[in-house]
């Protein structure tokens, strides 16, 4: 055997074993200390880490508030959509997956890399939006690759749905992803990267109300990011719906009336400042911004010479031209200078050694003749008598040269020159000769269409100037928010600048004469007390061309109101390079006609007045193309048959009185496309309210703008028309 027997008797020394025992004890104590450090001292810290490890906050996005028009018709809606996000939390080399992701989601690989690079500095838990409007196919791809691509996540969103073709785009504005500059702005301190924010129009001003409050879901995930359950839900609070002051019908009429001309239309109720219509042309499609706008489209928008992103109604600062004569007249009458002033117009006059032209040889005239005829010579003389500072005092009091305080972003203040202004800006004395040009709204004076509408509406209301606004006063809007809006859009607000009764009666009578016998006679409408003033504002010194749209062609202005005293609606129309102001007057006339007709319809709505239960007898006259000419557009020009009849209408069955009311309102034939053979289609258009009708804005209204008789009594199909006779119109 290998073992020597002697060794068997040997024993280990107790000392050495004790050393081993103490060694083990020491080791155990060390381990216990480690455990103490982790589990007792570090417990809270590690508990949080464990929570973060397993609980992920998945945002539940709030739907933005909807926008309605003044009659509660839907203007801006939301639609559900799925977006795809990339989460870098997991222990993955995401870069290696990018080609597959790009392929599956139909993305450009380089663009995807660029997106990720932009978020490089963002914390790891923050999801990176990589694709909006994920299609069903792409969603299937994400689902099928849950294991290979655990970093992909989808989230349900409510996206903005704006009216098509840029309808009311400048008023509504658009939303987009919050930019880095905005995040640095203290105004946006509550916003995080990736948030959607209103970037123009009502969307921007009322963003805080519209956006609501995002909620979140605390999802329990395992280490692969798979959801294994959830802890709780914090529901999202949807944004507040807003009722705008605009009237879709008027807005539509205004957009169609302006047509392709570059310019703006503002229609306002001068009694309370409610904006009834606000158009700026050219427009843009806000839907393009809802999903991130691509660079090419953006460049196209900002390089367009027509400035589609500019809200010309509140941002276009131009010489007011002859429309300024109303302010001149107000100043002159208030100062007691104009009443007895008689001026002999010989095609102009010499002031300060220079001859100033007038369009015509008006002969001797006083103020009541000078306004409708828009005689320059008269107002040159008046300007000379008043002097620049008196003019400026009145103009400023009537809101020119300062913001109106409308609740839309980036309003422009315009310019009203005065000696003080000249000194401040050019450090020189005011050249008295300039006053003469100012007298007819040229020179340095610059106004926005909205300022003009407000000023002239104010004069016609006896000097009561209002603060324009586009959102209806609503008790649901928090008072402090309302105040914040007022504070952040400071303007002259509601101002009373009392005018002598003589002053504004003379002026309004003069304006009424302008639309009957004066410069805007073409816009005259029988039976409507329409008053207004044209303006043909030169753009570059002299040398006008009268080619519509030409660079030297004057800007065409018109400001009008109905009725002439204490008007309900005041309309300012601007056509850039639109030549004579009378062109704009015709546009205003269409809007006025639409407004008046609508009012008349509403006031005489027999259904509303009859109450329910009783059938109401209604008489009607309508024209209809002869059946054989029904196919083509050419048929419009040919003879149509005039019908008359009366109907028995039962107000009880229809569900919505409102829709009947609006069906009584003239439905222009462009709305229903080929209405002649398809009454049921027209009916559907009527029933589906805004969105469908807005979709039709692209079609053009036929010429007959002043006659707004219903093309057919749409919903009364049940009653048989009694044919009284035929006539060739």
């Amino acid at each position: 055997m290998h073992l020597s027997s002697g060794s068997r008797g040997e024993k280990l020394s107790t000392l050495k074993l004790t050393v081993v025992q103490y060694g083990i004890l020491l080791m155990m104590l060390a381990l216990a200390t480690g455990l103490w450090r982790l589990q007792v001292l570090g417990a809270e810290n590690f508990r949080q880490l464990a929570e973060q490890n397993r609980v992920r906050k998945v945002p539940v996005l709030a739907a933005r508030g909807k926008l309605f028009d003044r009659e509660g018709r839907l203007l801006v809606d939301n639609y559900p959509s799925v977006s795809c996000f990339l989460v870098r939390e997991q222990n993955r080399n995401v870069d290696a997956d990018l080609p597959l992701i790009a392929k599956g989601l139909d993305l450009d690989l380089e663009q995807l890399r660029a997106t990720l690079r932009r978020y490089r500095a963002a914390p790891g838990y923050q999801p990176i939006p990589i694709k909006q409007e994920v299609t069903a196919d792409e969603q299937a791809f994400i689902e099928a690759h849950r294991n290979e691509l655990p970093e992909l996540e989808t989230i349900d969103e409510e996206r903005r749905l704006y009216p098509r073709d840029g309808f009311a785009a400048h008023l509504i504005g658009y939303v987009g992803e919050v930019s880095e500059e905005m995040l640095n702005d203290p105004r946006y301190e509550g916003y995080g990267p990736g948030d959607v924010v209103g970037k123009a129009g009502v969307e921007e001003t009322y963003d805080e109300l519209l956006r609501g409050q995002d909620g979140s879901r605390d999802v329990i995930v395992d280490s692969h990011g798979r959801e294994v359950g959830y802890l709780g839900v914090q529901h999202a609070t949807p944004g507040q719906d807003l009722k705008l002051t605009i009237d879709i019908d008027l807005q539509r009429t205004a957009e169609l009336a302006l047509g392709d001309a570059n310019g703006a239309v503002v229609a306002m109720d001068p009694r309370n400042g409610e904006i009834l219509a606000l158009v700026s042309h050219p427009s843009y499609d806000p839907n393009a911004f809802a999903v991130r706008i691509n660079r090419a489209d953006w460049n196209k928008l900002i390089n367009d010479p027509g400035h589609p992103l500019m809200n010309k109604a509140i941002q276009d600062q131009l010489a007011p031209g002859s429309t300024f004569k109303i302010i001149m007249a107000a100043a002159g009458l208030q100062e007691g200078v104009a009443q007895d002033m008689h001026v002999n117009c010989v095609g102009g006059g010499t002031f300060y050694g220079r001859f100033f032209h007038c369009d015509h040889h008006h002969g001797v005239l006083n103020i009541t003749q000078a306004i409708p005829l828009s005689c320059d010579t008269f107002f040159y003389t008046l300007a000379q008598k008043l002097g620049i500072d008196t003019i400026a005092r009145y103009a400023t009091a009537l809101g020119l040269g300062s913001k109106t305080g409308i609740d839309l972003p980036n309003e422009m203040a315009g310019v009203m020159p005065s000696t003080q202004w000249e000194m401040k800006n050019f450090h020189q004395r005011y050249y008295a000769g300039s006053t003469i040009s100012v007298g007819i709204g040229q020179g340095e004076t610059q106004v926005t269409p909205l300022q003009l509408a407000r000023a002239l509406g104010g004069i016609a209301s006896g000097g009561h100037l209002v603060r324009p606004h586009v959102v209806m006063p609503d008790p649901n809007i928090p008072a402090d928010f309302h105040k914040a809006v007022l504070d952040s859009f400071p303007g002259s607000g509601d101002v009373d600048f009392p005018l002598n009764p003589d002053t504004w009666t003379i002026i309004t009578d003069g304006m009424a004469a302008a639309t009957t016998t004066g410069t805007a006679a073409a816009a005259h409408m029988q039976g409507i007390d329409f008053a207004g003033k044209t303006g043909t504002a030169q753009v570059v010194g002299s040398g006008d061309t009268h080619v519509k749209g030409g660079a030297k062609t004057p800007n065409s202005w018109f400001v009008g109101m109905v009725p002439r005293r204490n008007p309900e609606i005041v309309i300012a129309v601007l056509q850039e390079h639109g030549d004579w102001g009378a062109n704009s007057a015709r546009i205003a006339a269409q809007i006025v006609a639409a407004y008046v007709n609508k009012k008349r319809m509403q006031d005489h709505n027999v259904l509303d007045q009859a109450g329910s239960g009783k059938p109401v007898e209604v008489g009607a006259v309508w024209s209809e193309p002869a059946p054989s000419q029904c196919r083509h557009a050419g048929g419009h020009q040919q003879a149509s048959v005039l019908h008359a009849g009366h109907f028995s209408v039962d107000p009880a069955p229809p569900a919505e009185p409102r829709s009947i009311a609006s069906s009584l309102f003239p439905v222009p034939s462009w709305l229903g496309a080929p209405t002649c053979c398809h009454p049921e289609r027209a009916q559907r258009v009527e029933g589906s309210a805004v969105r469908t009708s807005v979709a039709r804005v692209g079609n053009h209204e036929p010429k007959s703008s002043s006659l707004h008789a219903p093309s057919r009594p749409l919903q009364f199909a049940a009653a048989a028309p009694v044919r009284l006779g035929n006539a060739q119109p």
Binding site: H2, S7, L12, L38, F46, N91
Partner: protein, 365 residues
Amino acid sequence: MRRFLSFRDFDWTLLAMVLLLCAVSVFEIYSATLHTKYSGYHNKQLFWIAAGLAAMFILAKIDYHWLLDWVSWAYGLCLVALVAVLAVGVPVLHARRWIRIGPMHFQPSEWVKLVLILAVARYFANLGGRRLTWPDIFKAFALVAVPMLLVLKQPDLGTALTYAPILVTGLFLGGINLRQSLVLLVTCTVLVVGVWSSGKMLKPYQKARLSSFLNPDSDPKGTGYQLRQSLIAVGSGGVWGKGAAKGTQTQGDFLPIPHADFIFAAFGEEHGFVGAILVLLLYFFILMRLIQNAQTAADLSGSLIIMGVVAVLTFQIAVNVGMVIGFMPVTGIPLPLMSYGGSSVLFSFLSLGVAMNVRMRRFVN
């Protein structure tokens, strides 16, 4: 020569403590694998424990002197097996650790541990407690170093390292003096540093694993990840733990292999500081009990065998628990009697069997 032996001298107290630990192990494996593809492993563990118990009793019956007589052959066989693994082993994850004979898989490096305990005990017992000469020390080194290098070659750093404490304990108890141990210490340090920086003996991933525990956040995606998750698991357990089957790190699949190498982290998460300390205490009592047995052993070789067992167990506990709480690198050394795994359980019970063997013969001489 027949010797009288009785199971009255069997260490029933030790067995009770070991079985208690095994029960904890089975429950924790059950809890940790509840929602994973490993569910049901607690039953397998029960089977291994039963097998281990049987092996322990059988081994306890065989006189350890007889084992010591035959250990040279076993040692030789071990070397052959280790070489065979390198030549014809089944490669799993870049390493050849397993050898297949028919339907059975063997991991010879685990058995080598037991053989080395016996071989080292026999070597130093033969020296009879006299002062060690340098040749004695070199021979002891060679005895351990040959299988160690073969295992390193597989590569299986963790198991190879467990051979070291056997040698260290042998040298210490076998009679090394202070001067010699200092010389050895310096030499080893130089060797280790040399091996580390030469880059030839250790694979990059091994180095990364060994160094990442110093700063787990330096590479949270790679080797530091397991350690980080383990720290979160243990730390978030707090004083009382989250409750059985309620550990979020364990159940959420964040903790790597929570039933095997990281079972102590899983236990620490679900049963907290109190539970962890109780388990450590249990280990402490088991080790103390073993050392007491070593003290009462009939002869030097018996004492050395038990102390070899103590050395291996202590080393594994220290490295495994140390790894779980961030004191030690992630080396893949299982926690004896707790971690799931046939080889590990069998080794633990066999080494306890040898220790029992010695105790049962303490009055026999």
